[in-house]
């Protein structure tokens, strides 16, 4: 009798240990994550429901959903949302397809391939601030060459700075962003390409598939998981990426290049309205979460099919 009770007790102890033990080992990582990710997120969330204006320090305190109500009445918020969409989709489209093309080229054998690979990945290593400045200069007709080229091929009526034209200004940062982002897709897709077993290509060559059929029926299915994950990551990244815009146009002229992140940045650090900026940041987070959920759902559906 007695021994049975003892056995049960020690059994419970062992179970308890077994449950707890992994968390003990994980605790250093958990503590770090809590400190540097979860805490700022919660603080940021709480700002979204408070009035925190450095220029108006006595007007603090909880304001409920006031910021969100203001947001829906804010014309600039919606124009920034539209710009964010343009900025993200156009940049992503060109980054992806040019990156894929580059990866396919780099996957072929040619002499000096190692060197070319290293050079191709250079834009990625240039600080964004620097590339933003350089591109801004390139678009400047006084020191840059691009406006002159564009006018000689007929894209522009005369060589002027497109960054100061509200109709065209957005394309400046987009071009810089595409240049900056191609290497990311090229690197990741090249890695995925090289993981396709070469005997599959040989089997396909014997089966009589044309190069296009090989690409569509063998290469693409192998790349699909990588494409899904990189496109998702890059969308979030580009949508959140304001450095180039801040450096090249600061959201101007006339707010024509203002995206949500750059609007948030301006609101927080120029107008010093942290409450409203946090509320918009929360909104952006919700939108991106929504997008990610849709993409993940699509992916799991594709994987099953």
């Amino acid at each position: 009798m007695n021994t049975a009770v003892v056995a049960i007790k020690s059994q419970k102890k062992i179970d308890f240990q077994r449950v707890l033990e992994p968390y003990l080992y994980l605790s250093p990582a958990l503590i770090i994550i809590a400190l540097i990710i979860i805490t700022p997120t919660i603080v940021g969330f709480s700002y979204a429901f408070q009035s925190i204006e450095l220029l108006n320090p006595f007007n603090g305190g909880w304001v409920g959903l006031a910021h969100f109500k203001a947001m829906f009445a804010d014309r600039y918020f919606f124009s920034a949302l539209g710009n964010t969409l343009d900025w993200t989709l156009i940049s992503l489209f060109f980054q992806f397809f040019l990156g894929l093309g580059l990866a396919l080229l780099l996957n072929r054998r040619f002499s000096g391939r190692k060197l070319v690979q290293a050079l191709v990945f250079l834009p990625w290593a240039v600080p964004t601030f620097l590339s933003g400045l350089t591109w801004a200069w390139l678009f400047n007709p006084i020191i840059g060459i691009l406006p002159h080229w564009m006018s000689s091929v007929g894209l522009l009526s005369e060589p002027y700075n497109i960054l100061s034209d509200p109709q065209l200004a957005m394309y400046g940062p987009i071009v810089a962003n595409v240049w900056f982002g191609i290497p990311f897709f090229a690197i990741t897709l090249l890695a995925a390409l090289q993981s396709v077993p070469s005997d599959l290509y040989e089997a396909a060559a014997i089966d009589g598939a044309s190069p296009w059929q090989v690409f569509v029926k063998i290469t693409l299915p192998f790349l699909a998981p990588m494409i899904a994950i990189t496109v998702m990551l890059r969308t979030i990244w580009i949508a959140n990426f304001a450095d180039l815009i801040i450096v090249m146009t600061s959201g101007g002229p006339a707010n024509s290049t203002q995206t949500l992140p750059s609007y948030i940045f301006t609101t927080a650090y120029r107008r010093l309205d942290f409450g409203y900026a946090s509320a918009m940041a929360v909104m952006l987070l919700v939108l991106l979460l929504f997008y990610t959920a849709i993409l993940l759902k699509m992916r799991s559906k594709l994987a099953k099919a």
Partner: protein
Amino acid sequence: MASITLNNLSKHFDKTQVLKNINIEMLEGEFVVLVGPSGCGKSTLLRSIAGLEQISGGDIFIGETKVNELAPKDRDISMVFQSYALYPHMSVERNMGFSLEVQKVPKAQIKKIVSEVAESLGLSQLLDRKPKALSGGQRQRVAMGRAIVRHPKAFLFDEPLSNLDAQLRVQMRLEIKALHQRLKSTIVYVTHDQVEAMTLADRIVVLNAGVIQQVGPPLEIYDRPANLFVAGFMGSPSMNFINTQVIMDRGQLCLQTTSGDKLPLVHQYQNLQVGMHISCGIRPEHVSILDSGFGHLQGRVNALEPTGISEQIYCDYQGENLCIYSMQRSGCKENQAIALQLDVHKLHLFSEQTGLRLQQLPDAIAEYKVVSGE
């Protein structure tokens, strides 16, 4: 169906020559097996025929067509890879029908052809599965099915059974043989498994270091190996070799071993001269242990390997390891001294200088028949 002819084919990677002056004529419907040690160039030869490797010299004909410059798909051959190379993201059905799919054959027709082939290979139940949900043997069959669906002029197999366990290998071997008899197609088959080579081949091609050593029907290669390499390579356990010299002993030509034992030569051989150094080969099954008397040679048992059905006895003679293969259980012990009797009709003579076989003269074969008929 078509013949395959290789004329003076050679291939080198950078500076290393992998194939040298390969000349083979494979007949229509013939089952040709390429054997040779690892790295001798079997896969390279097969891949050259398939068009996956650019050849450095010579010509390849499939049927009457010279295919040197043709892309793999235009050579109308099928290849079964050692790794199977099944498309992992496609079902068995799509894998098998892929060659038709890329030719834009109507779906209904593909389905019909694939299901017929699947039926014949016992794959009908598995058509919806992905390759990773198949066993090794099933994958192998899908790979064969994919090759058959195309109705090619010739099949190329690169060690298709080497990833299977022994039992499955025997089963698949029989299936491949049945397949060949059913389709009557030209097959070039690479293996380094002796038994596969002997049982499947109409003709065996033995390769070593990129050079053809011998081409012939399996039993001819076994019974009359053209040189020391083929003699040592084909057959398991492999042939024994004894260093000897030709002498004339009381009017009879004999081989004398270094320790002075004499083996009488009962046949006549081309180019045999007294004083020649001969490497004398004798297969393990042609050596027997005498219960009494001295026999031809006296050895000492090194090791015994009973397999149940037979027994292999390794014994020491002149510092050489001699193998004896016997269907009887000898009851020998290690270190026991034994007397060995050689079947002197079955001696293989190779010149030590050139490594080449000394051909037995035809009248000697007639004599042999009389002797064995006694």
